[in-house]
Subunit: 337 residues, 2 copies
């Protein structure tokens, strides 16, 4: 696999205590594995709520090298204890479903806002020199007013999840400015790869596409299939998280991630079928509640991340999807009933 590992990362993380919230989830587990490979002493926190993305299998083979701590980020007392003594915290736990946030806005508020405050309060009180990286989302931009979307683009979320993700990110920035906490936010966009949640569309539409393709079902593409998106392979996202955590200029800053390629959803379905060597897709009308929060075309500019972090995506869509399909061909039975 192509890699763009910065040479300083091994030195920065070797023997360092690192906490990952959402550490059994998609991005968190990939990050935990990478950090363990770099020699870090990783604690992965996860609540393993069945509907969310956490799975013990995501750390298969790393059980001896990553300390797993089952806890919910809403549990203020546990968090208060767990942040102590960490050199780095990657704050990835979140409620990520847009539709769930509309059905149960209070749960989304508790996880994406209140928990962020309690993590930040715990750091302020007990570990003020920790280096914190928060995983934000491009979803907060809402319907793009121009493309590619850079970090100056107005924030205009279309659902409760988007509003709360804005708040969660900005708490980090406020705590940086007011208390000097060394926090950074990355705004991720359509991250995909091994260990992503594929059982349904709660995390991303691409998950359910992969599952349906692998199970011989039709991929359902909403609308006319012309909506364009960019994608980040999870190894690239992990690389960005690590670089952000070790870059002094990134303290207090917010960075978009992005992909080299922009592709329509229809073309993406066709590419998946080509790579898989079989399969079908069909254009279907948007379900009403999906339509209400759809944002049309989106792709972002990662120029700032490139300038400050030296980051750019290295894994092309074709290569990344090939790895992803191979992973679920081998391990899909762990990810769906």
């Amino acid at each position: 696999m192509a890699t763009n590992a910065a040479p300083h990362l091994a030195a920065a993380f070797r023997d360092q205590p690192v906490l990952i919230t959402g550490g059994l989830g998609f991005i968190g587990s990939n990050l935990a594995r990478r950090l363990a490979d770099l020699g870090a002493r990783v604690t992965a926190i996860d609540s393993l709520i069945p509907e969310y993305g956490g799975k013990r299998f995501n750390l298969a083979g790393y059980e001896e090298r990553v300390r797993i701590n089952i806890a919910d980020v809403r549990d203020e007392y546990s968090m208060d204890h767990l942040v102590r003594g960490q050199a780095f915290i990657f704050n990835l736990a979140g409620q990520v479903s847009h539709l769930d946030s509309m059905h149960n806005p209070y749960t989304d508020l508790d996880i994406n806002c209140r928990s962020q405050l309690s993590i930040l309060e715990a750091c302020r009180k007990h570990n003020p020199s920790v280096r914190l990286v928060y995983s934000g989302t491009r979803q907060i931009y809402g319907r793009p007013r121009y493309l590619p979307v850079d970090e100056q683009h107005p924030v205009d979320p279309v659902d409760v999840n988007g509003v709360n993700k804005v708040a969660g990110e900005w708490y980090h920035i406020v705590y940086q400015r007011a208390y000097g906490l060394r926090a950074t936010s990355l705004r991720l966009t359509n991250t995909y790869g091994p260990r992503m949640r594929v059982v349904d569309a709660r995390q991303t539409f691409l998950g359910i596409w992969l599952r349906r393709l692998l199970q011989g079902d039709e991929i359902l593409v909403f609308g006319d299939g012309r909506q364009r998106r960019d994608f980040t392979y999870v190894d690239d996202a992990v690389e960005a998280l690590l670089r952000a955590a070790t870059c002094e200029a990134a303290v207090g800053a917010i960075y978009n991630l992005g992909g080299e390629e922009v592709i329509s959803l229809q073309a993406l379905a066709e590419l998946l079928i080509e790579l898989q060597g079989s399969g079908r897709y069909r254009l279907v009308p948007f379900p009403a509640e999906q339509k209400a929060i759809d944002i049309g075309d989106y792709f972002g500019s990662y120029a700032r991340a490139k300038a400050d972090l030296g980051w750019q995506p290295r894994v092309g869509l074709r290569e990344g999807l090939t790895h992803t399909l191979a992973y679920y061909a081998a391990h899909g039975h762990e990810y769906w009933p």
Copy 2:
């Protein structure tokens, strides 16, 4: 007193059931009085938390014409009941202290975020055709990047209160877009006038200035006194709230309020002393925790409100401050120990 009352307002509100959250507070009570004068059937909700702005005295003389319901907006069940059957809801209850939000971010979250969600959920379920107006704040813009600040200015709050006020506003917009709730937000700026909280600087610095001036104490101006601000007299703010509630084009929209005059804090202190005919002020260094969240110069553009609502401020600063000083000269003993 100058007035810019639109003639349609009496027709729009006569005999209409109207709910005001924070109805015993500064702006809420002035609004309640005006609505009662227009013939509306007003229910004023307030928690009367001692540290906040609510006071029974604010509705003195209107006790028979406004129904007072003591309840906290965090009380989901009471709110669920109280929103039913209302034609209009003016959603003004909030935790407004920037410093309190840093000392107790959870309380700020509960009042400014969770309560807003429960009001909106109650409206969605039990009163989906209600007309809602939310009181936002210019404080969410943070340090201005250009002046005057219009509604396109990036939102960049400097404290937890600012973040949560953004979220509270945007929930209203999200519920408008997703569910068709007829909500509008006004971003208020330095509203002042009779019934404002003057016991300390929790609501606005101008409150404590008025009190100190009237009690013969020195006004303390932080920094070099050159920071410029605009101000809205409360009758003008009330007029904007009423116009927003009765303007179809305002559904789903956000409007800045503002003032005609922009004045430095030092000049404002001098004006107050001139109007009062006595008093002193002194420039003092910023307290550290105030400095951390100070935003420098601010004044806003209300061009959009003028275009859509036909609103503009009518009461000049000199006239408004004269009325305010007269009010506290007569009633100050109700407002401080």
